[in-house]
């Protein structure tokens, strides 16, 4: 590194930087481009938007989209109600349990979907008996699947503000624990809660294996079925779902970028005010 960067060096840096970026980008974008190409393939190697137009008219597809969105909302609600109070409590009162909670929440990461399904089958026999054979019962599995990601997000949120001191300050001002949770903790980890929700929605909308093996018609299952009938429509729907998920990701990035204004320095004055 020279202290004064010469134009040549600057060009060198940019080159390395852009090479890396383009390589990584291509690695990830190639599948997407292939999808776009495939879904607009017309007869006689022309281009057509038929597959995209078919999306809005297939009632089976629309039903699956509804089910998947409902599942997404239920899973978000479930995982937040399960994690936020538990993790806050552990963070504030029994910090030595944090590792345990983390390990438990990471477990689903290492359990392959197929294992879950084999183990879950008998449980789902009961669940279907109790709640009826609704696809929404998938919520229970999805909450488990989402745990690792939601835990990460909320844990990062709790770590980013000094929640222990804030809670102690609120307590010494006369606040009950419930008020501490609702008035102090939740508003200050709003970004983390948004992240957890977005990841949860993205995962639920993208999940295929479990719903397929348990025979529920969620979005990805129907896309797969469609794919056997009309591959182009299936790919178009996948592409749309992907773009939707990408938009959610951008929302997440935006949410975590808030509160970036810089604090003023202490006025440095030797004089007595």
């Amino acid at each position: 590194m020279a202290a004064v960067t010469t134009p040549g060096e600057r060009r060198g840096h940019s080159l390395v930087r852009w090479t890396v970026l383009v390589a990584v980008g291509l690695y990830l974008l190639l599948p997407l481009l292939a999808m776009l190409e495939f879904s607009t393939r017309g007869p006689d190697s022309g281009r057509t938007l038929d597959a995209w137009k078919a999306m809005g008219t297939d009632s089976e597809l629309l039903g699956a989209i509804t089910v998947s969105l409902e599942l997404a909302l239920l899973s978000v609600a479930g995982v937040l109600v399960l994690l936020v109070p538990t993790m806050t409590w552990v963070h504030l009162r029994v910090p030595r349990l944090r590792r345990l909670i983390e390990a438990v929440c990471l477990l689903p990461l290492t359990i392959p979907a197929i294992v879950l399904v084999v183990g879950l089958a008998p449980i789902y026999a009961w669940i279907n008996y109790l709640f009826g054979n609704s696809a929404l019962t998938l919520t229970f599995v999805y909450i488990v699947l989402v745990l690792p990601y939601a835990h990460r997000a909320i844990d990062a949120g709790l770590a980013s503000v000094d929640i222990v001191t804030l809670a102690e300050a609120a307590r010494s001002l006369g606040s009950s624990w419930t008020r501490v949770l609702l008035r102090i903790v939740v508003p200050n980890i709003r970004g983390a809660i948004t992240s957890a929700s977005v990841i949860c929605v993205a995962l639920v909308l993208g999940e295929f294996t479990i719903s397929s093996l348990l025979n529920f018609d969620t979005l990805q299952v129907v896309i797969n079925l469609l794919g056997k009938r009309d591959a182009a429509v299936s790919v178009a729907v996948s592409f749309a779902a992907l773009v939707f998920a990408f938009v959610l990701l951008l929302v997440l990035a935006g949410a975590s970028r808030r509160h970036r204004e810089s604090a003023p320095q202490d006025a440095v004055k030797g004089s007595v005010p």
Partner: protein, 376 residues
């Protein structure tokens, strides 16, 4: 000391009258409570954070708890606030035993080390939060929050969020928030330690002024002896969970009872000497010994830098190692012929004649000092 304290509170009444007329009745009604800590004990595994700590704090008194980190001073404060649990002991505020009362019903105001403002609320809402919990009406809340921000000199920042305030401003708001609920006791847990030196000394004096104004009994925990000496009516030096010595700042500084206090409060040189019947001979000077000193034999004498005299002398008993200009006063560090190093306070005028390397003669003033049996 008590007389000074009550003077201070009288002055307060007057000041309050001058500054905000309509508040004054309220403020003078708000007199501090007596606090008694009785034989507090608390162990974390094998570590005794509190080992039988007892302390009485008079109504309206400002007491600083001073000690190195890990000495238990913060544990004591947190136990008083109800944020840490005790193994045994008793805490009394006024006539009320609050040992088993929840933190949210103790009626104390606490200022933390840093970053304790609620980031999602403006300065005004932070200050008003405790009042809201006490179901004070929104008009009244707003008015009182405004008054308190005024008291800490931040009325123009009421609508700012914590991240828009500097560290010093945040601590002022935290102070206003703690005082807003008119607590019986004000607890300050190293409130200045995250600040720059200059802001620190300014805010220290301001905290003292405000405490004199409102008259709340105050406990102030710090590891910085300058801070403790400069602000408190009395200072308690804590070591390993026990009170080592407690008294007015000047008493601690001039008449330390143990080597730990002598070394922890102010700067001190350890010099070799020989004691006999209440006097020690150090560098050829007879130094009267304080109560608690070892009275005879080879001793280590604890001498303040301002009691060490250094004069250039080609045949002296030491050589200047470093010379530090510090403004109105300066210091030199001298290595004596017997290889001990001595820190001496000198006037900045003398400093010019004492560059590093100068051969000097070092003597001490006959000010009373503490002595202990020499170790080597």
């Amino acid at each position: 000391m008590t007389s000074q304290t009550s003077n201070a509170r009288k002055a307060d009444g007057r000041r309050a009258d001058e500054s905000s007329g309509e508040e004054s009745g309220e403020k003078s009604g708000r007199s501090g409570a007596q606090v008694r800590l009785v034989d507090l004990r608390r162990s974390y595994g094998p570590v005794r954070a509190l080992d039988g700590l007892s302390l009485d704090v008079g109504p309206g008194e400002f007491v600083a708890l001073l000690g190195p980190s890990g000495c238990g001073k913060t544990t004591a404060l947190r136990a008083l606030a109800g944020l840490d649990t005790l193994d045994s002991g008793q805490i009394l505020v006024g006539d009320r035993d609050i040992t088993h009362v929840g933190a949210n019903r103790r009626d104390m105001g606490m200022v933390f080390q840093a970053y304790s403002l609620f980031p999602n609320m403006t300065a005004r809402d932070n200050v008003a939060y405790g009042l809201q919990l006490r179901r004070v009406g929104s008009q009244e809340r707003r008015r009182r929050a405004g008054d308190l921000l005024d008291l800490v000199g931040l009325s123009s920042h009421a609508a700012h969020y914590p991240h828009q305030l500097s560290g010093g401003q945040q601590q002022r708001v935290a102070l206003a928030r703690a005082l807003a609920v008119e607590p019986q006791v004000l607890l300050l847990d190293e409130p200045l330690s995250a600040l720059d030196a200059k802001v620190r000394s300014q805010l220290r004096d301001e905290i003292r002024r405000i405490q004199i104004d409102v008259g709340t009994t105050t406990l102030f925990v710090t590891h910085d002896q300058q801070e403790a000496l400069g602000v408190a009516d009395r200072v308690g030096v804590i070591r390993s969970g026990r009170l080592e010595q407690v008294g007015p700042p000047a008493e601690l500084y001039d008449r330390p009872r143990t080597p730990f206090v002598a070394e922890f409060v102010g700067l001190t040189n350890r010099l070799h000497g020989t004691a006999q019947s209440g006097t020690a001979e150090v560098l050829g000077v007879g130094v009267p010994l304080l109560e608690g000193s070892t009275g005879s034999g080879a001793v280590t004498v604890f001498v303040r830098p301002e009691s060490v005299q250094v004069t250039p002398d080609g045949k002296g008993n030491g050589r200047v190692l470093t010379a530090s200009f510090l403004g109105s006063q300066s210091t030199v560090r001298v290595r004596l012929d017997d290889d001990t190093t001595v820190l001496a306070q000198v006037s900045s005028a003398e400093l010019a004649h004492l560059p590093p390397g100068t051969q000097v003669r070092v003597t001490v003033a006959a000010a009373p000092a503490l002595a202990t049996r020499a170790v080597r």
